[in-house]
Symmetry: C2
Subunit: 301 residues, 2 copies
């Protein structure tokens, strides 16, 4: 590595460390409790796109590596009110995704969830966190941003909102990319159709088929930042949604057992730390955000 590139990488790593710091501090100020991440479990997020499984034999029983902590977050809210975790996720993405500049097969999400919250509560929280993170980086890393050639603008809250239906109508299938490329500030996409998302995304009781969820899109072409929303939490509804998705309830046995007993209503989101770092540092590829990038298909330490 050239010494110039090492200097750049150092700057990126310092900024990423500061991003984690700000996120943790702001959440603690709001009485969030940091819980441990979960790496192995018999249950994990099935996700909404094809992904290779990571089966591990532990003491003769079958476990997977966490693809997201969604179920554990809901279960944690049986004990606590507001939680977060810096949660490593492993997702063995298809090889086509190795060149997107946005996919690693191992990454970290700040994953958070609030009991009894509505989508609007977590959207507001997200905007506050986002602005705090950018303020801190702009204040403390002037030299590093200059070396990276990054002019970072502080967005104004509330961020613009576009309904999925309107985005699709106006921009077609590639709406996410087009919205990202044509905007200078982050944009929310809300109200995804039920058929497009995971079974745990909460359906709007007043508008069947429409979800109480959202994605945040980075400006300047950096693409998706996060997904989140309200959750399904009643046993019957969860089971129905699993079946509607063509998935097997037996795959989520422990989760369903707990849902039958009691899961509280909640809302939350998960935001990828590497993608956030990429956006903040203005980097071309996500591999540049971490010391040990995991590039789909490549042998990486």
């Amino acid at each position: 590595m050239k010494s110039e590139d090492i200097e750049k990488l150092k700057g990126v790593l310092k900024i990423q460390s500061d991003i984690r710091k700000t996120l943790g501090e702001e959440l603690r100020k709001k009485d969030f409790i940091e819980i441990s991440s979960v790496i192995l479990s018999p249950i994990t997020d099935p996700l909404n796109h094809p992904i290779a499984p990571t089966n591990i034999n532990c003491y003769g029983k079958k476990y997977s590596i966490t693809q997201s902590m969604i179920f554990h977050k809901q279960i944690a809210l049986r004990t606590l009110e507001k939680i977060f975790a810096f949660s490593p996720n492993v997702r063995l993405e298809s090889l086509e995704r190795k060149n997107t500049g946005r996919h690693l097969f191992e990454f970290t999400q700040l994953d958070l969830e609030i009991k009894d919250a509505k989508r609007e509560d977590v959207m507001k929280l997200c905007e506050e966190l986002f602005i705090s993170v950018i303020k801190s980086v702009k204040k403390n890393f002037k030299k590093e941003l200059r070396i990276l050639g990054r002019e970072l603008t502080l967005p104004k809250a509330p961020f613009k909102q576009i309904k999925y239906k309107d985005a699709y109508q106006k921009y077609g299938e590639e709406f996410e990319q087009i919205i990202s490329k044509t905007h200078k500030e982050p944009v929310w996409i809300v109200d995804f159709p039920l058929t497009n998302r995971e079974f745990y995304d909460g359906e709007d009781p007043k508008r069947p088929g429409v979800l109480r969820d959202m994605d945040l899109i980075y400006p300047e072409g950096y693409g998706e930042a996060l997904s989140g929303g309200e959750r399904e939490y009643k046993y019957d509804r969860i089971k129905q949604r699993i079946l509607k998705k063509g998935q097997k309830p037996s795959q989520f046995k422990e989760y369903l057992t707990l849902a039958k007993d009691d899961l509280p209503p909640s809302a939350g989101f998960g935001i990828g730390i590497e993608r956030l770092t990429r956006y903040i540092c203005g980097l071309k590829r996500i591999e540049e955000t971490t010391l040990f990038p995991k590039i789909p298909g490549k042998r990486c330490i």
Copy 2:
């Protein structure tokens, strides 16, 4: 769960969140950079006791889940000076260990490493961190400690040091347990013999066969807190130590390639967050420190 038990668990989780907060804050004050944890890699700590492997096929290549980040820490110091990570470790311990009250097959270590540091530097740092953590918990969680029935004393630095040789002579094979049970403050064990430890533990150049390493032992019977020390960092010495251990250099191929190029001298340690929580909260079993305990042999979400 009885509401009394839920109250206790809530207290423990809040204290654990505060422990993470204090550790992170203190390290950042000392210019440490938080790096991402590593979950999958072709290279991981072989450890010094028998453990079932966690082989995963990623894109046709063989990976394991991190047993400790030791190699990645040393490699990270090629770019940064002082680093830490809250690093989830998976160790498929033998079933005999399920009843020790001290073993989970998944847990989190605060893992840190300092370039060009000596053992004494990281011992001092550890004492400072330990005292800061206890001060914060005593100040902010009076009610929770009362509910847990825990009277927590603030230890005085520097902690007592006992050489391995002397500990073994005085107490025999079970020295760790005996020292833990008979002391009211933490105790360092230093200078382990080379044959007892992993190949990466640095040998004292002035005393062949003796390591520049240490363990910290909790008082009151809570057992081992952490392991650490100076590291082997020169290619020839690392290779020699691997062979001496009866291990295969090919198992550490990527690590050896980087060591041949350049690894800096360093010292560091890893301290288990769940064990620290258990000690601070005065809990009987490590399962009580976390929402999703992974008990060897049991199917755990």
